[in-house]
């Protein structure tokens, strides 16, 4: 436990030259992701108590979101790396990518007190969603910075890694957005019963957004 926290500290510092092991990084992602998720799931409506079940579900979902997205994007990224002639570096690439996600969860976990403070001051579900989106946005910004840092030695060795890291960001974002959509609800509408998945609400994030856009451009009327 303490070892993990020391690791997490080393993960964030720009100067550290620590070689992380994939297993430790995975443990960090799961642990810190679980923590933020559990805090995120504590939102409750007026006259309610915090919902333990929702908190557990949300806790499970944050690491799931990251790890499943990572696993889905990995095969094509590996083949692309091979084609670029970067296969020998791939173990290091995996460590860099895992370290980025681990760093992201550490940042998220550090933002959890803000989320709790916000929950203590509002009962508005939409506001809670927006606030969490803000937190995730902040975490992913620092995630990008971390990715740049962990990739720097690789890029210094071979410029082609620069191209690949861009490909990775596109792939990861494309899958991650849909994954986030599928794993809804992360917070859970307090007015509804607690479910792991929202009933009948799978569907495609991109299409939903595009439909909203079309509706808006038609003067807000449904066609």
């Amino acid at each position: 436990m303490t070892a993990l926290i020391t690791q997490a500290d080393a993960l964030l510092r720009p100067t550290s030259r620590l070689e992380f092991r994939a297993r430790t990084l995975l443990a960090t992602i799961i642990l810190f992701g679980l923590f933020y998720g559990a805090m995120m799931g504590l939102f409750f409506g007026p006259g309610q108590l915090p919902r333990v079940l929702q908190s557990l579900y949300s806790g499970a979902k944050v690491p799931m979101l990251l790890i499943l997205t990572f696993l889905l994007a990995l095969p094509s990224f590996y083949v692309l790396n091979m084609l670029m002639g970067l296969a020998p570096d791939f173990p290091q690439v995996i460590r860099a990518l895992l370290a980025t996600q681990a760093g992201l969860t550490v940042v998220l976990a550090s933002l959890a007190p803000f989320t709790l403070l916000f929950y203590a001051s509002t009962t508005n579900y939409d506001a809670a969603i927006l606030f969490n989106a803000l937190m995730f946005g902040a975490a992913s910004l620092s995630g990008q910075r971390l990715l740049k840092r962990f990739y720097a030695p690789l890029i210094a060795r071979d410029r082609r890694h620069l191209k690949m890291v861009r490909v990775w960001i596109i792939l990861y974002a494309f899958i991650g957005i849909q994954m986030g959509w599928v794993l809804r609800p992360f917070i859970g509408d307090p007015a509804q019963k607690t479910h792991f998945f929202r009933e009948g609400a799978w569907g495609n994030a991109y299409i939903e957004v595009w439909d909203k856009f079309i509706d808006a451009s038609h003067g807000g009327r449904r066609r």
Binding site: P75, S76, V79, R160, M179, G203, N204
Partner: protein, 274 residues
């Protein structure tokens, strides 16, 4: 089987297509084994494409799920068929044009080259399979899945063709009279005089050759190949439809002969956006 995948690994890493390996104007890969690998990868990619049919059919009416599974099996069979048929249809004309343009590639080298390029395509496609399957599981929009598949095939095709171009180019270099050392020497000289970074430790399969303009002959051959491959491949895929399976239509192994590929893509974009 395992040897086939090892050969695929060498192709993808670019080990099979480095200049020294091409010195005698041939690519040293087992084409027969690679065709087996091609079929296996095609089945993986096809199965991932077919997931959509199972999910939508099940979603609409669980009693219909059988039809979706039929579609999944059909897609699994069809994607390898698509690539093998395209190879069979295009190979004779490619070979003839190649000879006409004056390339020195013999038939066996050509066959190996085309099989290697198709392997690159299939490997990329199969590796994109999990993404396609994931979107298929969570999406009910048929046009979106259609376009996603088109994008996946386009990415795979582009990478496969750029592999083809670079390998053709290297082959023409390996064939030409100029010694291969010419590529090594300037790098050493440059490293001795100026502190420029050393050449990449591992040139990839898609790596462009340095400081060399493309041989015009290679460019002509390549253009012919792209046109022939692209047109035949697209139309072949159209003949072998449906790969994904329209949720509103009953399962058929092949659809009626009608309309064309590009028309359908434009229609799908239109339906998705408006």
């Amino acid at each position: 089987m395992l040897r086939g995948f090892k050969a695929l690994d060498r192709v993808l890493r670019g080990e099979a297509t480095r200049l020294p390996a091409l010195r005698d104007g041939n690519i040293d890969i087992p084409a027969g084994l690679l065709v087996v690998v091609l079929v296996v990868l095609g089945m993986v990619a096809g199965a991932c494409t077919g997931v959509f049919a199972v999910i939508t059919r099940y979603h609409d009416d669980p009693a219909n799920a059988l039809m979706g599974w039929e579609q999944l099996l059909a897609s699994t069979a069809k994607v390898p068929m698509l690539f093998c048929f395209t190879l069979v249809v295009t190979f004779p004309s490619l070979y003839v044009f190649n000879a006409l343009v004056g390339s020195r590639l013999n038939m066996r080298a050509m066959l190996r080259l085309v099989v290697a390029a198709l392997c690159v395509m299939m490997a990329v496609l199969a590796s994109l399979g999990p993404i396609v399957a994931f979107f298929a599981v969570s999406t009910t929009s048929y046009p979106f899945i259609k376009l996603l598949n088109v994008v996946a095939y386009a990415v795979a095709g582009t990478l496969g063709l750029s592999f083809l171009l670079q390998t053709l180019h290297r082959l023409s270099r390996a064939h030409s009279r100029e010694p291969i050392e010419a590529e090594v020497e300037p790098a050493d000289a440059a490293a001795a005089t100026t502190p420029t970074p050393p050449p990449y430790p591992t040139p990839g399969a898609l790596e462009r050759m340095r400081a060399q303009k493309l041989d015009p002959r290679v460019r002509t051959i390549f253009r012919i190949w792209v046109v022939v491959f692209g047109l035949v491949g697209a139309q072949m895929s159209w003949i072998l439809r449906p790969f994904i399976g329209d949720p509103n239509k009953p399962f058929t192994f092949l659809r009626n002969r009608e309309s064309q590929f590009f028309q359908a893509v434009i229609e799908a974009i239109h339906k998705l956006l408006w």
